[in-house]
Amino acid sequence: MTNSIADIHEANVILVIGSNTTENHPIVALEMKRAVSDFEVKLIVIDPREIRLTEYADMWLSQKPGTDVAVLNGLMNVIIEEGLEDKDFIDKRTEDYKELKKTVSKYTPEEVENISGIPADSLREAARLFASAEKGAIFYSMGITQHTTGTDNVLSVANLAMLTGNIGRPGTGVNPLRGQNNVQGACDMGALPGCVSGYQNICDLGIIKKCKDVWGVKLPEKPGLVATEMMDAVLRGEVKAMYVMGENPMLSDPDLNHVKEAFKKLDFLVVQDVFLTETAEFADVVLPGVTFAEKDGTFTNTERRVQRVRRAIAPVGNSRPDWLIISNLAKAMGYDMNYAAVGEITNEIASITPTYGGIIFERVSEESVQWPCPDATHQGTPILHTAKFTRGLGKFHAVEYKAPAEQPDKDYPFILITGRLLYHFHTGTMTRRSMGLNEVCKEARVEINFVDAKKLKIKDNDWVELSSRRGKVKVKARITSHIPKGTIFVPFHFKESPINMLTNPALDPVSKIPEFKVCAVRIDKVGSK
């Protein structure tokens, strides 16, 4: 997030697009609801589904899945057409506005209605509501990113924020809500193929020297593979061994049959986890790590806040903290990796990571800090880009709408969206083993619009078989009016109904994110064939 959770209520209008906030970020949703009820903040929700947040919203626009660029361009078209853009901000803080203006001029509300299904007048109204506010904040999540046009979607969100001058002040911002407790931190720490901690590019001479000094080795030069590319590399025979720590690709990745083939083909698989996950079942060696409750360290939340994690109980059985296992392994391979305690690692991170420079263990044990925090005297940064952007001027990227990789057709007439539910988390490794949560919600249900259900003669709780070009899954039906006709939703938490058997592994060309939010499927009532 460019901004902080605490300043949500300072907005005049909040735009939520592609985030089912009440279920996936419940505490952020509390702040949004409080902003609406106690601070008269207007709320616009853009989501294909009638998610719970729409109950609190002034406007809800339901777009056809995968048409976000068109919708965002349409909003900008109206804003420019009606002179609601922030001319001063555009002049002083941005560049390439002309290209943007030219591109979005084609996306008239009527044209966008044809693409997205959002009525032209609703789009106009939403554009006016957002652009006339003094402070507008945009929130998004995987509904924006998990598309083959994920990067374009994010660029469009940034375009809208810059066009309306909604960057760098309280109650504004481009605010992605991160889905896992430390996904922000994992990125910040350089668990990415192209950069070391603090997003320092592996080709950057500064970090190459720092790594030489601190790590004592030369950084490898060849760019690495992203997670979604690794499976293909295994099948091509290029990758022979994998070391998987606390991840479960056998439920979380798209096109699971493909993933399974890859894991079978590996010469050697090491899985480090707290349970024998679906992935660990393929492993040659399983190393027992520990849960959050058994270790010290830090997590970084969605608003870049680095917070202290404290060990509450001793490691269960003969398990070990993951940092210790990695050190053990490094030593066994002849690399001297010696840390007496976690704090030494925290401080090594501070020493080579400019954005974490002031985040030393002793300090973060006393107070949480939002990065960038370059040194010990720095207070941290609740709001990014207040005076200038990281690159100087904010660059408008004119992007055109591109259709999703797979469209519904005669054989596979429905669009499948996958996602999460309130009561479960990711592949369910933890929540499926939390007795209460699993009792409240113990199985996957496919949400089907009641009109579609009637046509297919499917009743609530009937078993149906969903199939795509890649696989089949059996699941019970939930008939609802909260999902538009022609679209279905299935959560990916449940190993009994592994919906990623069906999803499309088509990737965004830049970010390599798979298109989990759109794939073509068919529905058959079980026993009807």
Partner: protein, 352 residues
């Protein structure tokens, strides 16, 4: 804006404009008892145990709902106030199930604490008592109206913070009761089972089913840490007894969540001590994963990685780090892949 000067129990105090007497007293270490107050909620003034004397005021005033004024002289501990508070608590106790011996809230019950402070041994008011039987078919939240003091905190937190409006008052006067629409089980309402109502309940009317009989509050150690689920980064207090988490709470005065949690944060902790936990390293031998020592497991991995690296090059090995692990572990994992293995094939599930 200029500061406000007042006295509490004769002590000179400086306060910010807009603060309530209760807030100012708390900041200055002066305890005023409350039952219906929660800093997360709007002032309500229902229980009247926070009444104070303000010089020149016609009546006693509720400290939670009265803003400080310049020159105000407040007294919090006079004999008339003691008598009022005692009467209020006696009245509450007269229709309260006194099962403190086994009540889950014993030791953290504000009503119990207040009865103790006021020295209430015998109750002067012996009258009719309600006997409610409520069965709520949900696995997480226990409701017991026999212990409810009608402070409205659950009603208000669900309305003001969670904004689900699951609870409401029904009936009038002595028969007033907090219930759900049509007396339904929570699971049949809009309830999201977040447990915010438990977090604010001052008595044992709302308690956690999973924690039942697992431990008393004074037997537990509280450890502040960060929730393992979504990216909000809520601060949680794990309550530990005998090496096991028996309950999760949150501090209303700290963290991004200020005492609020969702259903996963509050109730999704028992996976930690689940019998499925891996407790020993495993190595596949003759097709089966068998338990081995750490030394053997580490040696097996180190040897195999070294062999593959030698034969096929470092880029034949790829690592997946974890958005569930700490910053330190993610940093080490990428350092291991880059410095020890010698490849940039390192990523994690940010996209999934």
């Amino acid at each position: 804006m200029s500061k406000i000067n007042l006295t509490i129990n004769g002590e000179k105090i400086e306060a910010e404009p807009g603060q309530t007497i209760l807030e100012v007293a708390k900041e200055n270490g002066i305890k005023i008892p409350t039952l219906c107050h929660d800093p997360r909620l709007k002032s309500y003034g229902a229980c009247r145990v926070c009444l104070v004397e303000v010089e020149g005021a016609r009546n006693f005033l509720p400290a939670c709902a009265t803003k400080v004024g310049d020159g105000m002289a407040v007294r919090t501990n006079t004999i008339p106030l003691y008598k009022i508070r005692r009467t209020i608590v006696e009245l509450l106790l007269s229709d309260h199930e006194l099962s403190c011996l086994t009540c889950e809230s014993a030791g953290q019950c504000q009503l119990q604490d207040l009865a103790y402070e006021l020295g209430i041994e015998e109750n002067r008011f012996k009258g009719e008592k309600h006997i409610y039987t409520i069965e709520d078919y949900n696995p997480l939240i226990e409701r017991d109206p026999n212990k409810c003091i009608l402070c409205g905190r659950c009603v208000r937190i669900c309305e003001e913070i969670q904004q689900n409006k699951v609870y409401t008052f029904a009936n009038r006067g002595f028969d007033s009761v907090v219930t759900t629409p049509y007396d339904k089980s929570l699971i049949e309402t809009k309830c999201e089972l977040c447990g915010q109502c438990i977090s604010t309940c001052p008595t044992g009317a709302l308690t956690e089913k999973m924690s039942r009989y697992k431990g008393r509050v004074w037997e537990t150690e509280k450890v502040k840490t960060v929730c393992p689920y979504c990216g909000c980064g809520c601060e949680l207090e794990l309550q530990i007894k005998n090496g096991e988490i028996i309950c999760v709470s949150a501090d209303v005065e700290s963290g991004v969540n200020k005492g609020n949690t969702c259903v996963k944060g509050r109730f999704g902790y028992d996976f930690v001590n689940h019998p499925d936990r891996l407790t020993s390293p495993l190595v596949r031998k003759d097709g089966k994963l068998v338990e081995v020592s750490w030394d053997e497991a580490i040696k097996t991995v180190a040897d195999k990685f070294s062999k593959i690296k030698k034969k096929h090059g470092a880029d034949a090995i790829a690592g997946l780090s974890s958005a569930k692990c700490t910053n330190e572990e993610n940093y080490l994992m990428q350092k291991f892949m880059r410095a020890v293995i010698g490849t940039n094939n390192i990523d994690h599930c940010a996209r999934l």
